[in-house]
């Protein structure tokens, strides 16, 4: 130690610009020595195991790929509890390390110094979240995943990470113990588990605000393909989570040591504002209603988000009929034309035979009351409207027992077509409609014996339980199927209108 080299004393008044610069340097030190980077490898492993790995098992559509990690909040579960734990560790640092007196005796308000520590923690956590999700989406993009990413849900996730960091930090600041971090981590897990369990049970009302509740927003993979991801609910969640973060940070500014009276008053106002924000968001969520495109919150809804996404379709032909799909489904166009070719060939030339087939969006709600159908017929000239978003596409599924075989998809399309063609609508159809449907499927290469199981497993096509293809319906179907194709065609040409209107009986089948 030397006494000789005394530095120049500073007594000049501080410039106003020095304050933010000073804060920025403080933040830099905090960023450099923050504990968050140490936990990131663990979070990365968890993210890979829990968010990335399962998602790649789903069909390459954003709605399906992001169902678990964004919709069900898998990524938030991976991040949140650990972020809360590390934030609690950082929040308790001065107390744990016996530096509370020293930090209190400095000019910068204690709360401001704590906010710098928290900000560094949150910056690391949110940056890591965005990088991990960015890598996830970059991999999806390389794999040609169809649609657009659910950016609003990414923003909600980033806000959730921020909220966890703020809540954990407040725990640590109020309880400067080495146990604060594990308790905050466990609390985070508990909160997420409760959120998930409550979310699964509630598809309306206040529970929609919970960050792991996917109801009404990820039930159709056509969000981001035919229509934009509706931002209403994610905005409400962002408000809710931001409110929690603001309230938690405000709480850390309330103790007498935090700073001067005005600063503590500001902290109290901030706390109340945060609580009010969170409460408002819960109120907004409870007004949400399910629309065809997802959850709509009237107070937040922007009609511009209802406008469909424009696109140039990918087209092919099946039995001479043009078949066009959304480019997000381009990879399945050959499967689609292969599926439609035999059934369209059976009915070509009949009145009401579709002149073209086009893909339509899978809606979250049915417009006509019954269960929505994958294929419908309508318009003049008649068009086949295919809603592939309702079906499991060939390849990896993620939500099925295993990958979906092309034959399974093809059979479903043929069933959906035959079901629509005979006019069965949203129900199982009349006995004669069921018989004609069975005969058409038989003609398209699906044996009678396989049909009961196919009908039972098909989405939204009511029918009998799997069993033998027997009984009066199948007896009538067998009679029709044994007729030569020309005779079948001729009978259908005469009776199709009556068949669709439900005016025929089984006895009237040839």
């Amino acid at each position: 130690m030397t006494a000789a080299t005394a530095p120049v004393r500073h007594r000049t008044p501080r410039a106003a610009s020095a304050v933010p610069l000073n804060a920025a340097r403080l933040l830099r030190v905090e960023l450099r020595r923050n504990a968050m980077p140490w936990i990131l490898p663990l979070i990365a492993a968890l993210f890979w195991f829990d968010s990335y790995r399962p998602s790649t098992g789903a069909a390459p559509l954003y709605g399906l790929r992001t169902f678990w990690n964004m919709g069900q909040g898998g990524t938030i579960i991976d991040f949140g509890p650990f972020v809360a734990g590390v934030a609690a560790w950082m929040g308790s640092r001065d107390g744990r390390r016996g530096l509370a007196d020293l930090v209190t005796a400095t000019a910068r308000p204690r709360w401001a110094a704590q906010l710098a520590t928290w900000a560094a923690t949150a910056i690391w956590a949110v940056a890591a979240y965005l990088v991990f999700v960015g890598i996830l989406f970059a991999i999806y993009a390389r794999q040609g995943v169809g649609g657009t990413p659910p950016w609003w849900w990414v923003a909600a996730g980033a806000t959730a990470v921020t909220a966890f960091s703020a809540a954990g930090f407040a725990v640590g600041a109020y309880w400067p113990s080495r146990f604060a971090a594990p308790v905050a981590t466990f609390g985070g897990f508990l909160a997420m588990m409760l959120s998930s369990q409550t979310g699964f049970r509630h598809n309306t009302g206040w529970a929609l605000i919970l960050p792991t509740n996917s109801n009404g927003n990820f039930d159709s993979q056509d969000s981001g393909i035919f229509f934009p991801w509706l931002p209403d609910l994610p905005i409400a969640r962002i408000i809710f989570l931001a409110g929690i973060a603001v309230a938690a940070l405000g709480l850390t500014g309330l103790p007498a040591r935090a700073g001067g009276q005005w600063l503590r008053r500001a902290a109290a106002v901030l706390t109340l504002a945060g609580v009010a924000l969170a409460g408002t968001a819960v109120g907004l969520a409870s007004t949400a209603r399910l629309s065809a495109h997802g959850m709509v919150i009237p107070a937040l809804h922007d009609a511009a988000n209802d406008a469909p996404i424009t696109y140039t379709p990918a087209c092919g032909h099946a039995a001479g009929v043009p078949v066009c799909l959304n480019p997000a489904y381009r990879r399945w166009l050959p499967d689609m034309t292969a599926a439609l070719t035999p059934v369209l060939a059976e009915v070509v030339g009949l009145p009401g035979t579709p002149a073209r087939a086009g893909q339509v969006a899978a809606a979250y709600t049915s417009s006509d009351g019954g269960p929505p159908q994958a294929i419908t017929l309508g318009g003049h000239p008649t068009a086949l409207r295919v809603s592939l978003g309702m079906l499991d596409m060939p390849g990896p599924c993620g939500f099925c027992d295993g990958p979906v075989a092309t034959k399974q998809f093809v059979d479903q399309i043929r069933l959906a077509f035959a079901h629509a063609f005979v006019g069965a609508g949203n129900g199982g159809g009349s006995p004669v409609q069921q018989a004609v449907q069975a005969a058409l499927l038989r003609g398209a290469g699906i044996p009678f014996a396989a049909q009961p199981k196919l009908v039972a497993t098909a989405k939204n096509v009511p029918g009998p339980a799997p069993g033998p293809a027997a009984g009066p319906v199948y007896a009538a179907a067998r009679r029709l199927a044994t007729l030569p194709a020309v005779a079948q065609h001729a009978w259908l040409a005469v009776h199709l209108a009556a068949l669709r209107a439900g005016r025929l009986t089984l006895k009237e089948l040839p």
Binding site: M1, T2, A3, A4, T5, A6, P7, R9, H10, T12, R14, A15, A18, V19, L21, N22, R25, L26, V29, R32, R33, A35, R93, D94, R96, R97, G98, L99, D101, L102, V103, T104, A105, T106, A107, R108, P109, A113, G259, G260, Q261, W262
Partner: protein, 253 residues
């Protein structure tokens, strides 16, 4: 006067840690002696504006620390080394000192030079980039002193600053104290009477929350002469004599 304390008390529940202390000091090194539990640390914490007094009047650097604005201004000009100094193990020495320079709201442009100077003054220049967790106890103490002096304080409060320092460092530190005391009020709380003798121009002795002696080290030494009080050095004998007298007076009362 940089420190003006008048009839100050501080209670923690039923315990009265400081009981009616009156103290005034200007630039120079002021020693605060006393046995364990005498109230030295509590008095220093009040002077460091960490805790308020329960009663009495405190003015530091001409300001009343009761108001937030004046307290903040005092803190800008204050250096404080607590008795049990913690540290951030992941910080380097330079970062630790820089961190406190920034918390003391030093002008950002002056921070790098001030940090380097403070570290040099405690002879840690060669370890500026070493993580605090790698330092010995004595080095950590010196890092603590560096953070206390980084802002060239007008009021420097050091609680047991030489604890953990080896004799060579202690000698160097006393020289540093004398140098700092030429411009600032340096209040050093210590058990080690040799530190007082070597560096302090004034000394106060506390016992049971009260100041039982105030004067120069020579005056304290004189109080021990011919009393047969315990101690290996004259100042120690003065210390023991004053304490014994104070305690017997209390017992008699």
């Amino acid at each position: 006067m940089n420190v003006e304390i008048s009839d100050v008390t501080r209670r923690f529940g039923r315990t009265q840690a400081v009981a009616g202390v009156t103290l005034e000091t200007g630039p120079g090194v002021f020693g605060l002696l006393g046995p364990n539990g005498a109230g030295k640390t509590t008095l220093l914490r009040m002077m460091a504006t960490v805790i308020p007094s329960s009663s009495g009047r405190v003015r530091l650097l001409g300001r009343d620390p009761g108001g937030y604005g004046p307290r903040r201004e005092i803190r800008r000009r204050l250096g404080y080394l607590p008795q049990n100094l913690g540290y951030y193990p992941g910080f380097t020495v330079a970062e630790f000192v820089e961190y406190f320079a920034l918390l003391k709201e030093m002008p950002p442009g002056r921070v790098p030079q001030a940090v380097a100077t403070a570290i040099e003054r405690v002879d840690l220049g060669g370890r500026a980039r070493a993580k605090l967790r790698t330092l010995s106890g004595g080095m950590l103490r010196r890092a603590g002193i560096a953070q206390a002096i980084v802002n060239e304080p007008e009021l420097l409060l050091l609680d047991e600053p030489t604890a953990g320092l080896d004799p060579e460092q202690r000698v160097a530190f006393r020289a540093l104290l004398r140098d700092l005391g030429e411009r600032a009020s340096v209040i050093v709380s210590t058990h080690l009477v040799e530190d007082i003798g070597a560096a302090c121009s004034k000394v106060a002795l506390m016992d049971a929350g009260k100041i039982v002696f105030q004067g120069t080290p020579d005056e304290l030494t004189a109080r021990g002469e011919g009393t047969g009080a315990a101690g290996d050095a004259p100042l120690e004998r003065g210390y023991s004599a004053v304490l014994a007298a104070a305690r017997s007076a209390t017992a008699a009362a």
